[in-house]
Amino acid sequence: MARTLLTVPSSAKKGEVVEIKLLIAHPMETGFRPDESGRILLRNIIRRFACRYNGDLVFSAELFPAISANPYLAFWVRATETAPLTFTWEGDNGFAQTETVMLNVT
């Protein structure tokens, strides 16, 4: 499991637009860099990210090697109900990670 840093407001008013900031530990190896022996290191990146709010897809992204190591993503969601936010990262070598945070709407 990669370490993640998820910044989600602990609570939000109904209808408020909240910012979600996510960081995940990942080398994002580009597949263009040689190692000490001169061989090209195989690509190892996170290719897809998706955010679901109560099961509905809100935001998704395809990432490419031009995204820095430990990919950071920030985007916005309108808080409509108290429901889980699910974040999914998928990548090379079968990398898959899902994190869930409850968004409390008052």
């Binding site: 580009t30 992204a61 395809e62 090697p65 995204i67 820095s68 990919p71 993503l73 985007f75």
Partner: protein, 162 residues
């Protein structure tokens, strides 16, 4: 007087030589890009954008790519793309893509939005191999495409072997 002229000429020659060396150093990283990329830079960007739009016409405006114009470290460069849109079911941004001119690959990120996003904005951190142009393209739900092109200067590039 001739002495001064000679001195001037020498200095001029030195400056020219210096500029030549600087130019060579600037051009050098570009030579490291994969073969088949010898087309004009704007052509490279246009091809990348056309791949995303499917050849549909694009217009300048409604989208803003916010990134530092002078980058010290190309390994991690914060960038934010914002598109102007009411983000309703009838009128919203469906996707925002960012392309670069001189990294090994043209694509940077391809973000997809829904009306639930409420705000068509995405922030991430990217790698920049060298001084180059970047373009952000937003696709609206009505099928129109909007672009914003900017140039960034990179002093320490990503993708250099240590």
């Amino acid at each position: 007087m001739t002495g001064t002229n000679n001195a001037l000429a020498t200095r001029r020659a030195l400056i020219t030589a210096g500029a030549g060396i600087a130019g060579w150093m600037l051009v050098r990283p570009a030579a490291a890009q994969p073969a088949g990329e010898s087309r004009a830079p704007s052509d490279i960007l246009n091809t990348a954008v056309a791949g995303f739009t499917g050849g549909a016409p694009t217009r300048e405006g409604r989208v803003l790519l916010d990134i530092a114009p002078l980058v010290d470290n190309g390994n991690t460069v914060p960038m934010t793309v914002t598109a102007q849109s009411p983000m309703t079911a009838a009128d919203h941004v469906t996707a925002i893509a960012v392309f670069n001119e001189r990294n090994p690959q043209r694509e940077v990120i391809n973000a997809r939005f829904t009306p639930l996003s409420a705000k068509a904005q995405v922030t991430s951190r990217m790698r920049l191999a060298t001084t180059q142009k970047l373009v952000a393209v937003a696709r609206m739900s009505d099928g129109s495409y909007w672009t914003h092109t900017i140039e960034v200067i990179v002093t320490l590039a990503a993708c250099i072997e240590e």
